[in-house]
Symmetry: D2
Subunit: 371 residues, 4 copies
Amino acid sequence: MSHNSFGHLFRITTFGESHGPAIGCVVDGCPPRIPLTEADIQAELDRRRPGQSRFTTQRREPDTVRIVSGVFTDERTGKQVTTGTPIGLVIENVDQRSKDYGEIKDRYRPGHADFTYDVKYGIRDYRGGGRASARETAMRVAAGAIARKVVPGLVVRGALVQIGPHKIDRGNWDWEEVGRNPFFCPDAKAAAFFADYLDGIRKNGSSIGAVIEIVAEGVPAGLGAPVYGKLDADLAAALMSINAVKGVEIGEGFEAAALTGEENADEMRLGNDGKPLFLSNHAGGILGGISTGQPVVARFAVKPTSSILNPRLSVDRYGHEADVLTKGRHDPCVGIRAVPVGEAMVACVMADHYLRHRGQVGQSSSWPFPA
Amino acid sequence: MSHNSFGHLFRITTFGESHGPAIGCVVDGCPPRIPLTEADIQAELDRRRPGQSRFTTQRREPDTVRIVSGVFTDERTGKQVTTGTPIGLVIENVDQRSKDYGEIKDRYRPGHADFTYDVKYGIRDYRGGGRASARETAMRVAAGAIARKVVPGLVVRGALVQIGPHKIDRGNWDWEEVGRNPFFCPDAKAAAFFADYLDGIRKNGSSIGAVIEIVAEGVPAGLGAPVYGKLDADLAAALMSINAVKGVEIGEGFEAAALTGEENADEMRLGNDGKPLFLSNHAGGILGGISTGQPVVARFAVKPTSSILNPRLSVDRYGHEADVLTKGRHDPCVGIRAVPVGEAMVACVMADHYLRHRGQVGQSSSWPFPA
Amino acid sequence: MSHNSFGHLFRITTFGESHGPAIGCVVDGCPPRIPLTEADIQAELDRRRPGQSRFTTQRREPDTVRIVSGVFTDERTGKQVTTGTPIGLVIENVDQRSKDYGEIKDRYRPGHADFTYDVKYGIRDYRGGGRASARETAMRVAAGAIARKVVPGLVVRGALVQIGPHKIDRGNWDWEEVGRNPFFCPDAKAAAFFADYLDGIRKNGSSIGAVIEIVAEGVPAGLGAPVYGKLDADLAAALMSINAVKGVEIGEGFEAAALTGEENADEMRLGNDGKPLFLSNHAGGILGGISTGQPVVARFAVKPTSSILNPRLSVDRYGHEADVLTKGRHDPCVGIRAVPVGEAMVACVMADHYLRHRGQVGQSSSWPFPA
Amino acid sequence: MSHNSFGHLFRITTFGESHGPAIGCVVDGCPPRIPLTEADIQAELDRRRPGQSRFTTQRREPDTVRIVSGVFTDERTGKQVTTGTPIGLVIENVDQRSKDYGEIKDRYRPGHADFTYDVKYGIRDYRGGGRASARETAMRVAAGAIARKVVPGLVVRGALVQIGPHKIDRGNWDWEEVGRNPFFCPDAKAAAFFADYLDGIRKNGSSIGAVIEIVAEGVPAGLGAPVYGKLDADLAAALMSINAVKGVEIGEGFEAAALTGEENADEMRLGNDGKPLFLSNHAGGILGGISTGQPVVARFAVKPTSSILNPRLSVDRYGHEADVLTKGRHDPCVGIRAVPVGEAMVACVMADHYLRHRGQVGQSSSWPFPA
């Protein structure tokens, strides 16, 4: 069962509400003897942390992570390493403003999970979205920092490729640029445009959607467990489980519908090293649910932040009609901070499938085969 | 673990290769005392069966299903019903042409899983795609026929909404039309166009992609298990696990990226019955991973059939370059037959979440709440 | 996967080492709207806490539990209740003596997991047994306190029925007595004997095994998921997973091997209430893996504490022979403190199966059936 | 979820009722390239098959297994091998006597699952015990035949060590003898006694219980997933899930309760090969839930066959009192045929843990460690 757990051999289980005492995560199944410190995790958390620019929420969440189990000092190297036992991670919540939630505690904010949690459970922690808050994604990023270390040679990077109707120019793609602007945008020119564009959105009290692309390089060929544990099926679940995500695609994605078989085929030749060389990557690195060895490319669409300053029609939990507007600190485009979250989820999927593959197959067969 | 199983409380496990002796499925966790006959399942299988028009493969697969366990006659009604024990389903493979596979048994057809299965497992049943064949989806459709009966009032319908770059006119949408044309297309005019269009594709020995939309009505509010077992996360995995699918979206999907918070909000009022009434359904029936009670709307993109008559560059398993072209009987647009498969997977997700919800919560709370 | 998780719909995941910063547990799938406070859990933890008599270890572990998520105040009742989201529990470790572990950090204590953890993982937290320490069972007891509340009417009680070769007199069984002596023993006379007997064991620096019996009353008929999720199979796993347990039995258990079919049959009549009445309970409340409605009776054997003051032959991790003796504070009979742990695990199994049954079947059929 | 599935990376799912059309099993996760034929499986099935002596049921079940998926011919060796895809196994039921079930179809046979299935599901296939029949164990034995091939060097053997109150003389233990008598008994003298003893039981229309011991040799050190996926916890679940089993123990088992820490300690020295050498095996090859490298020893108790010729008091499903006696063909001691079933379940646990261990850890660390 997977209420609040994700993965099988590399499994994460998160807990915690936005304004509760703490949030946390258990990472179970991590291989032993992997160097791991709180600083490793903190570095990733800092990339996601809000309040770093005017384009993300101004909440102050230092998000200081504490590793409470699963690591120990290796005497011979002096380094702290994983032990193979569950890694417990805890972040205390510190910016829980004792504000008045009177306006929204009984009303259902359109686009939020307020109504559905209430109908399902009959009770909900309404403070800051409770369990449905994107605050939970801090623990995904923390877990992802560990997952990244599990697959040797794995590099997972994400980039914002669209805000509103505005797509970046892929010809300008520069991974270095991603770290230089507050949008994780690989196109410097688009980033400049987005700054102005989002200022307008923000000043209107409005919000806007976005599309994020995640590229995983160094994924060995052979990962994936057909037919229901396909690598792409798990990626789809992983990315769709992120708050506000409404679509996921692999490789050409929805564009593939418009292609012919000739156009979409990824032809193969032998490379100079005698290894198979794909001449294109329409498949996004996955065929039949199994990785090809090419970069795995996934994209996901994030809807506009539901919390906006303009009032919307709604109802309350007692069966009355009521209008709702959201005060307070919010992201005009939640898609921005979804970039490191998407990376983390992709890393978790790769770690899980790497261990599953190693479990079933041991070592991949050496291609080419002797005749 | 979910190599070849899907779902938790309602779990399906399939087995079988395209040209092996038989394919089958175990449906575990189905509630007892649900009327079920082979005819119920056969009716769904017949919708997916190939060879029914010139637009699908001409293979002859009668796909006669046999229920070998999990049902018994209820003496008082004389009806055959489920017993709560695992339902075993078997279809014998009868059209296994003893043809010569010499040309493709060592060569990797671009776009197929030939290469990835070989690299992963070091051995593969190359006949007709083996385990990676869409033949496996017959068992999904069979399982889906059972799943449909689990959630009272559930109606799951699918429709083909795009072939190649050509989208249907949603203004022409007529569910009745879906059963009248060989494309599962709800727009009669588009269906007529698709017939000509696909004839051209077919005569060229080419293939083309498609987009399918699945609508589930009668989904009670409250289904979904946040935060990793979200209803939409499981739908994404279910649909992405279907052969040749490259993208999945819920509600507005990727279009949501271009919307503002105001545009995307589904406002609420009270209906004449005093119940909450959504004024729109951009969310596709899911908020925070939990069903709202509105229709659940999902779309998925299917890539063009990889088997085409025009030769493509490739390599073989012994490390030589080789060209590949596919002879024989194939679908010019595999997206067409994916419609009943998509319906089946959505039904399975709903059945699973219905039982999970009933397990955790018992009865949903009665909304509105007493003040 | 179940490295550090137990259960399905009611699932616990624990983390933490004996001498690490903290131990914790995530309880996922708990139904909403169940009253729950830290005091509810603390009461159970206090029953297990060491240092309460001279017969258990003298470590000081206040074991103060903190609920960090999954609960919220129900405004209408003012009570804190579960919300259906994961319940995070954390206990900070406070009695981590900065003692010298030099003697045992490289040596394998016979009967302990030192050698096996080292061989498996290549690294281990040797302080106090690390993850293999019985300290982990504090979180089982905490989770069990929640599980007890899930099944209406469930009462789970445990009793120590044997220490060393000495069995209690079952004719003296008095549940009230269990709380009056430091052994959880239902036979006052046996308890007096055990006090002397264990004093002798303790003064010799030795240790001794024990047998515990758990009785669950109020288990509704129909719980159990045949054939691999049988109620007794899950009970066996649950109890065998407790530290130092080497045997589990249900009802007559191993004695059943010596019985004839006539002797072992639990005959049935109709009770005065018209309901089925079993005339005996050799089966221990479970037939075919499903509860009968009678009390569920399980017993488990706990081996003697492996930490003893008398030196034993061993080897070290560098391949040298070395003797080991254990200094410090230890239980002469770890079986005693296993009583509340056994209760907790049985409660967790019942909660899980109750939710699973409610998921698959909804309401049990009403017996007798109309003719 | 595990209604009818067992295991994680090596997972078996069975289906089928005693008198339904067929029984079957899906083995998912089996590594590729393992030689496997129907004859391999048939050999194990034949050991379990009934009707081979007067001490087991006289039903004729040829139990001819068909592999319908998951295998393919390796061209280079000409051998049939596993492909890594799910292995489907089917046995058609052929000896379904069209007998009159009138007497038991509404009555609950004491000791059987009749009552509990009826109360749980409200419907049951009463013919021959339906799903609760030991017929299901044929598929366990079939799956076990595959599991045995997964762990290199693994040898799993079982023996009957007690019938009724009569234990074998362990000094006479001879594994060769197990195959020479109809009881799987390693003590020739005891076997002779059992023949007479069981004749008496059988002629009286009675039945008797038994104890079986399973020994797994060649289990590498390091298997086991603490703390809830311990090797012994999974063994306990596996064995307790077998029909009629009421107790499971590892190593000394319940006898450990009577031992002191000194007696129970398995001391270690270095062997002539420089590897750790245990001087005893009270632990039964498992410490802290992880294998030590010694033989894993498990025992389980089987209750007497519930079907006896002497009438017992009972009730029927319509709420009337009624007596029950069982006519027809039954085993006087079901424990006998449980021997190959127990072996199979132990083999399945070992295969699963072997793959899990290989997944998480890859290669075990090489002991001893460099200083």
